[in-house]
Point group: C2
Chain length 257, copies 2
Amino acid sequence: MKRIKLTVAYDGTRYCGWQIQPRDLTVEEVLNEKLSQLLKEEVRVTGASRTDAGVHALGNVAVFDTDSTIPPERMCYAVNTVLPDDIRIMDSREVAGDFHPRYCDSVKTYQYHIQNRRFPDPTKSRYAHHVTAPLNVAAMGQAGALLTGTHDFSSFCASGTQVKSMVRTVTDLKVWGSFDPVCISDLPAGPGQDIVIEIRGTGFLYNMVRIIAGTLIKVGLGVYPPDHVREILEARNRQAAGETAPARGLFLKEILY
Amino acid sequence: MKRIKLTVAYDGTRYCGWQIQPRDLTVEEVLNEKLSQLLKEEVRVTGASRTDAGVHALGNVAVFDTDSTIPPERMCYAVNTVLPDDIRIMDSREVAGDFHPRYCDSVKTYQYHIQNRRFPDPTKSRYAHHVTAPLNVAAMGQAGALLTGTHDFSSFCASGTQVKSMVRTVTDLKVWGSFDPVCISDLPAGPGQDIVIEIRGTGFLYNMVRIIAGTLIKVGLGVYPPDHVREILEARNRQAAGETAPARGLFLKEILY
């Protein structure tokens, strides 16, 4: 019996998230079904991150145990032949039998993508949240920097979750924008920009990244001054922070153990 | 009667190209239908570029004549409320009554997008051609530079077209790659890269950009040395060039008049 670790990428548009649901299609369900079919044994994967409906992943992690004789590092090639196009195994390798993707220490990196222009570019709409009014990226970066470190993130946690502690550590939070040099140079509203909020940390609360994104958008719009995020943290109250930004802009980029 | 110029962006995945077809859904058909519905008059757009099935656009151009009292620069807001999400009018303005988007002189910019990594990132698959083996971007750029200027591009034109002259001018051809710094750093196959071929010119033959892309991919793979594109040009024979690269990687970025 071997334990295999998979690095899983998916376009979350079509899925009701990672975790198996009674009715709706999920990534976990597809992996279990296709792996079982391929390996001719009952396979049940354990995922690192139960991403929400519509959230994308470039490097989620799942493990499963198997008696298969397929070499672990070749497993990704075999599985990709039976998976739908919107799920791809980017890597497969053997890990120790006691490796658990949720309980072992890890650093997760998320990105939140925003397209900031008068009208949404339809070729970006599946993978970015559209904001019409110009965002001040520098102000968003200043506010983001105030969120790094170890804090009680109660204000950035969706209500209804039952966890012991709301204290989490954000090791890094960067915001950058890139102007599109071509195409819309001629438009009266200016060229527009693609903005990325990248957040790295050792653990995240429910909807934490999307609430941080929604809050930084309010800073970028000038609704909040950057310093206001200190008060939001201190309030320890979900109502103090900005809206939960839409799922389509969120990517789980990487999990490092 | 006013002539309105629209800058049209679309995700081409769902469309059988620009030009109206008896059976299949096209961008032109949707624009005619939605504009007629909105303006309560029979509207027929004239497009600048009849993009093929599956090709995307960020800045195709269309004009139409109307008696509408909607201010021309506000037209885009009105039309976008009735269009499907995968078509967006990025700009609208009045032009002279004799302006014709195909017969007036213009410079068109196309981009061809390639994702070059072991397995395709599913969140890029709709908008980029996937190539597994590592591509040499520098060699692709050298070959591309040899295609700039005024040449007989017969070798880069799909057969069956009836045009008087195969001579076209490519004013600029650049190739660049960007490595993805996060996520796949840990993979044995390396990080992978996103490659863009950007081609600017005053006129293009049928499938010319996709055949150039297919040829530059062969150069990038080492199948052809960069200098070989000179011989391909001289052959004036479609068989001499590489395959027509898939539509999903092609973007019509901009048309400047």
